[in-house]
């Protein structure tokens, strides 16, 4: 006769039953492809028969020494990370502005929510080509206007900054941020709403206590709001990084896909994906380890 299970054992078994689809998917549709990619990366594939031949580290060596484009796009996509702090600061700022309801706040929230839809790769791809239509329009007829336009656009901010002693590199960063403001805003849609949820979750009793003690708004922000939301800042930071790495607009992603599915160089594209993944993992690990201790967890 079969021994009857205790309640705890039964519950444990049910737990496995409910998570079974995930476990199956993880093994067959996630881990096994990752391992296969690792194996592929040491092989070269015949383009017709797809017969693999073992070639050792050649693919990895080629990525850094033979291929001129890969290191370039890799650096380009890593330098996109400078936008992460901008996105975080911007979305935090907007979340704080939207925290309290005011007349018209529903409408403003709606517009910010629109960015979640607009951040689709389709729209962003078109936006990057819209810049060219503006130029075309201008080039076509009025050369003079264009000169005026560019002069106005820059307002020679760079000269101004240079004259007050801001180093050029700093200015490049700021200038970049200003010219990319639209892309930064459009990529911070989800983050804004995650921050808003976090702000709403801070118990109001804390603010009441602070105002009883006579703290100023500035102190309240740095002593209550910021520490209470710090775990969410880390989550948002990692989310932003993953989002920018997975985006189809990312040059590395485009390059890997074109190698894999247009030229059918499965071995080389696998090697590149692994290099790319290791870069991401290292960056996320560094950020996590650096900021883990700074985070305030309410107990």
């Amino acid at each position: 006769m079969k021994r009857r299970l205790t309640l705890t054992q039964k519950k444990a078994l049910l737990g496995y039953v409910y998570t079974a689809p995930w476990i199956i998917g993880f093994i067959f549709l996630f881990i096994s492809p990752i391992i296969k990619t690792a194996i592929y990366s040491f092989h070269s594939f015949d383009k017709v028969t797809l017969e693999p031949t073992f070639i050792g580290w050649t693919n990895f060596r080629y990525a850094f020494t033979g291929d001129a484009k890969f290191p370039q796009v890799l650096v380009e996509s890593l330098s996109n990370l400078t936008e992460v702090p901008l996105i975080l600061i911007f979305s935090y700022f907007v979340a704080i502005l939207l925290r309290k309801d005011f007349p018209g706040s529903a409408f403003v929230k709606m517009i910010f929510f629109l960015t979640v839809i607009l951040s689709s790769d389709l729209f962003l791809r078109m936006q990057s080509s819209v810049a060219s239509v503006n130029n075309a329009q201008i080039n076509a007829s009025m050369q003079e206007t264009q000169e005026l336009f560019t002069a106005l656009q820059a307002v020679d901010l760079s000269k101004y900054f240079y004259s007050i002693g801001v180093p050029n590199e700093w200015f490049d960063f700021i200038n970049n941020a200003i010219s990319n403001i639209f892309f930064i805003m459009i990529r911070s849609g989800v983050q804004i709403f995650i921050f808003l949820a976090a702000l709403h979750n801070i118990p109001s009793s804390m603010y009441e206590a602070a105002s009883m003690e006579g703290s100023t708004a500035w102190e309240t922000f740095w002593l209550i709001t910021f520490p209470m939301t710090s775990p969410i800042i880390l989550i948002n930071c990692i989310y932003t990084i993953i989002d920018s790495f997975g985006s189809y607009l990312n040059p590395v992603v485009t390059y890997i896909n074109s190698i894999a599915f247009k030229q059918f160089e499965f071995g080389y594209s696998s090697a590149m994906s692994w290099i790319y993944f290791l870069c991401i993992a290292v960056i996320i690990a560094i950020i996590y380890l650096l900021f883990r201790k700074k985070i305030f967890y309410q107990t």
Binding site: L14, I23, F113, D121, V130, Q137, F193, A197, A260
Partner: protein, 326 residues
């Protein structure tokens, strides 16, 4: 001893100061928000205006946003180039199938993780986060090979007498969604996990005493309490699948979905030149491409925008309440 009048004066002064401060802060806030909203809305308005713009207006510099000549021809060409109606049906079917499957599977998986104690739970939770971090490029190539020659454990060979080619079908997407491995599904599992975790244990115990099994508890207690999160996940899941390029460009080679026909918008066919009555070597046609693109992208985004307009209130409120807080 200060007179009563000066005291009063001081009080009104501080009151005025306070109101002035408030008004100033309000103005600053309004300036920021209006500015941000403008930056977001402006490209959308530009896109709409371009979509309806006539060809001769491209060279008219006085035309900005407000059009002199209004036309639907751009849409006509975009529809022609992208085989719009077929593509729309494909995209909507694919997104609907995937959304339903992944919502159900993520609910079940999150329920299992949140309400049952078992040995591997911590490990599985960690791995769920891991699935979010890994870029799809790492798994797409072997998956393409696997699905183009699908034969797990030789089962397919037994049933169909050979391996199956699942490329250009929706089955790979269905398999991924049903096992919680689709686009950003790890995130959905975490959202549901957070919610189920915070539900009081008494609810479950009461159901158990009333004789409900774990599955009945799930259907009758857990799911009805998760409606807001389900709406959020359904809408996000639909949107992300609708916009996805990574998976659809590798699993659908000859079947069109919106994300794969985008580049058709800039490859004008002979019919387009015939329709417009211009020669194929007309250089100004390169400047016409953005207008067609605007019309095309507007058409692609139209279903999403419609859903958004209808649900936005619910949407915004629910996501504020859900969050990934913890």
């Amino acid at each position: 001893m200060p007179s009563i009048s000066t005291q009063l004066n001081d009080r009104t002064k501080s009151k005025i100061k306070k109101t002035a401060k408030k008004a100033a802060m309000g103005t600053i806030k309004a300036v920021f928000l209006i500015g941000f909203c403008f930056v977001i809305i402006y490209p959308v308005l530009m896109m709409i205006s371009k979509a309806f713009m006539e060809r001769r207006d491209i060279f008219d510099n006085t035309v900005i946003l407000v059009l002199k000549h209004f036309t639907l021809q751009n849409f006509e060409i975009a529809i022609m180039l992208t085989d719009f109606w077929n593509t729309l049906v494909n995209t909507l079917t694919l997104s609907a199938i995937v959304t339903v499957l992944e919502t159900v599977s993520c609910l079940v998986i999150a329920y299992g993780l949140a309400r049952f104690e078992f040995k591997l739970r911590g490990l599985i939770l960690g791995l769920v986060v891991f699935t979010i971090i890994v870029p799809p490029q790492l798994i797409l190539t072997p998956m393409y090979v696997q699905f183009s020659n699908y034969n797990p454990f030789g089962i397919m060979k037994l049933i169909f007498g050979g391996s199956l080619n699942l490329i250009d079908t929706y089955i790979p997407f269905g398999l991924l969604a049903a096992t919680g491995m689709g686009v950003k599904n790890g995130l959905f599992i975490l959202i549901f996990f957070q919610l189920f975790r915070n539900m009081p244990k008494e609810l479950e115990e009461a159901a158990h005493i009333d004789g409900a099994g774990s599955f009945a508890t799930f259907i009758k207690i857990m799911v009805p309490n998760a409606v807001t999160s389900i709406v959020t996940v359904v809408l996000f899941g639909f949107m992300w699948q609708y916009n996805d390029i990574n998976y659809s460009s590798s699993f659908l080679r000859n079947k069109n979905v919106f994300s794969s026909v985008y580049y058709n918008l800039e490859r004008f066919t002979l019919e387009v030149y015939d329709l417009l009555g211009v020669s194929q070597y007309d250089m100004t046609m390169t400047m016409y491409i953005p207008l067609v693109k605007s019309a095309g992208v507007l058409l692609f985004l139209a279903p999403l925008l419609l859903v958004f307009l209808f649900c936005q209130r619910y949407f915004v409120e629910s996501i504020e309440r859900v969050g990934i807080v913890g």
